[in-house]
């Protein structure tokens, strides 16, 4: 990809950015019920200096020229891996006043023992979807990757994967004929540090329309380091034939040593969890009641859209797992009678020191059967 080529883009009115265009349009801007005479508001607009434009382009081109060739897409992006759990940490950091004085001392430990779904209100989901509220981007400057996970590494055996990941890797013994594989891939350990930025966190809360939730200013700068262990993925490709019980693009089983997040001393986990529930859109009283029933030191919340998925608890290998079914216009489908419907099943559970996830375009019974057959 170069930056020196000239091409045509979709250049709508607001995209062209030229001063004259914008000024001419200013008085015609639809601003609700009235047409605003706001031409004076365009007086600050200016074309960027050509030298500036050229120099910046040159710098970007230089960066491109010296860039390391991009690796194949990681099957587990370290930042993304961290992001799910970082949500817990973010919440942990943002509400406990006790954390302020001891922000650099990490004594409390969060370990996943139980996975619980929390229903996200349609309003919150609407803001999070389609980039309306991109929390990941908003917090990106607060997350420092200390050690990027190593490139995904294909290995030839479960034993090799076990050695690399430091866990006894298990694979389903029962696999539908429509699946082939698995391809075994191991992603290395990653380390990241999150530093609380109260202004940014408060901005997120404000955007969620929760004026009664306040992020303590004293937490600004509090930091926590998150280590994610190596993750093993067993990737089963679909044979491409869409038959009852399994279709689509395959199934992935993942397993990893229980990730650890060390929290600042004094964090009041129930209080933090209550805030997490509030941020999900739950009413204050409901959030308070539910927060008291959850062991926050070991419970990972999985946000589930209230109107787009069904969640149930299932027994998997003697423990309680979480089964999530989504339907809709997904990229995969299963057959129910003569009808094709889109369905995606995800199963999450924690077993001993290992966290498991299985997901794919597959019916739930088959997915649970595969999980139960792991050995």
């Amino acid at each position: 990809m170069g930056i020196g080529r000239s091409v045509t883009v979709d250049c709508v009115r607001v995209d062209c950015g030229h001063v004259d265009c914008v000024r001419a349009d200013a008085v015609r801007m639809d601003n609700g019920d009235e047409q605003m005479e706001d031409e004076f508001m365009t007086r600050l607009r200016a074309e960027p200096r050509p030298e500036f434009k050229r120099d910046l382009k040159r710098r970007l081109s230089l960066a491109e020229a010296t860039r390391t060739p991009s690796a194949p897409r990681r099957f587990l992006n370290g930042r993304l891996v961290l992001a799910g759990l970082a949500g817990v940490v973010v919440v942990a950091l943002i509400v406990s006043p006790a954390a302020q004085a001891l922000a650099q001392e990490f004594l409390n430990l969060f370990r996943v023992k139980r996975i619980t779904a929390v229903s996200i209100s349609p309003e919150v989901m609407a803001q999070m979807s389609e980039g309306k509220l991109d929390i990941e981007s908003m917090l990106s400057s607060s997350v420092e990757v200390l050690q990027a996970p190593a490139e995904p590494q294909r290995v030839s055996s479960l034993a090799e994967a076990s050695q690399l990941a430091g866990i006894a890797v298990r694979a389903p013994a029962s696999v539908p004929d429509t699946l082939s594989g698995p391809e075994i891939v191991v992603q290395g350990e990653g380390v990241a540090r999150f530093t609380a930025d109260t202004a940014r966190l408060q901005a997120i809360v404000d955007m969620l329309g929760m004026p009664d939730v306040t992020i303590p200013a004293e937490l600004d700068g509090a930091a926590v380091t998150i280590t994610t262990p190596p993750v093993v993925a067993l990737i089963y490709e679909s044979a491409g034939q869409r038959g009852p019980g399994q279709t689509g693009r395959g199934v992935v089983f993942m397993q990893a040593r229980n990730p650890e997040i060390v929290l600042p001393e004094g964090v009041k986990l129930a209080e933090l969890g209550e805030l997490a529930l509030r941020l999900s859109g739950m009413a204050p009283d409901d959030a308070r009641r539910l927060a008291q029933t959850i062991d926050w030191s070991s419970t990972l919340l999985i946000p589930i859209p209230a109107n787009a998925a069904t969640v149930s608890e299932v027994q998997v290998r003697g423990v309680t797992g979480l089964l999530i079914l989504t339907t809709g216009r997904e990229s995969s489908a299963v057959t129910v009678g003569d009808e094709w419907i889109a369905q995606h099943a995800t199963l999450l559970w924690s077993e001993g020191d290992t966290v498991y996830a299985a997901t794919g375009a597959i019916d739930q019974a088959t997915l649970v059967e595969m999980a139960n057959s792991m050995q």
Binding site: N31, F52, G84, Q127, D197, M254, A308, T346
Partner: protein, 185 residues
Amino acid sequence: MRLRRLIPWIDSALPREAAAPLDWDALYEALLPRVYNFFMYRVGDAAQAEDLTSTTFEKAWRARDRYRHDRAGFSTWLFSIARNVATDYFRRRRVELSLDEAHDSPDDAARLPERVAEDHDERARLAGLLARLPARERDLLALKYGAGMTNRDIARQIGLTESNVGTIISRTVQALRRQWESADQ
């Protein structure tokens, strides 16, 4: 909202259709003026706007592999970065940057040709008015008049409803217009 997006390590594990490559040249040409002007309205100073624009594009350039087509339009993503850059800038300054800095001294203006000086004076006047606005209002106006976004795009960008955005902008501009006109008299 796809469930896959909610569970990051599952999300990243699943096969995904190859997205069409972005045309960076075209995006650069189209978005550079918008980002630059967004910062002009945020900080009111051309040199600072250039610095912050550079920072935004360099960050986006480094992180472009992480841009997710399925999450947001590119300009939404870029302006998320730009707004973060602005937040970081003001945090470093600890206080909202006074756009009074955009006012050059009378001596400077006096040395400019008459027409240029007139434009210069109007820009400084507007910058001065914007400087006194709360951060949220200035952010909204920067997205509207600097970045050239529609109210709908702004609503998507910052998580307010479109009607809220329209109301806030309308109210703010009306107030500014009164100040602008009173200064004319």
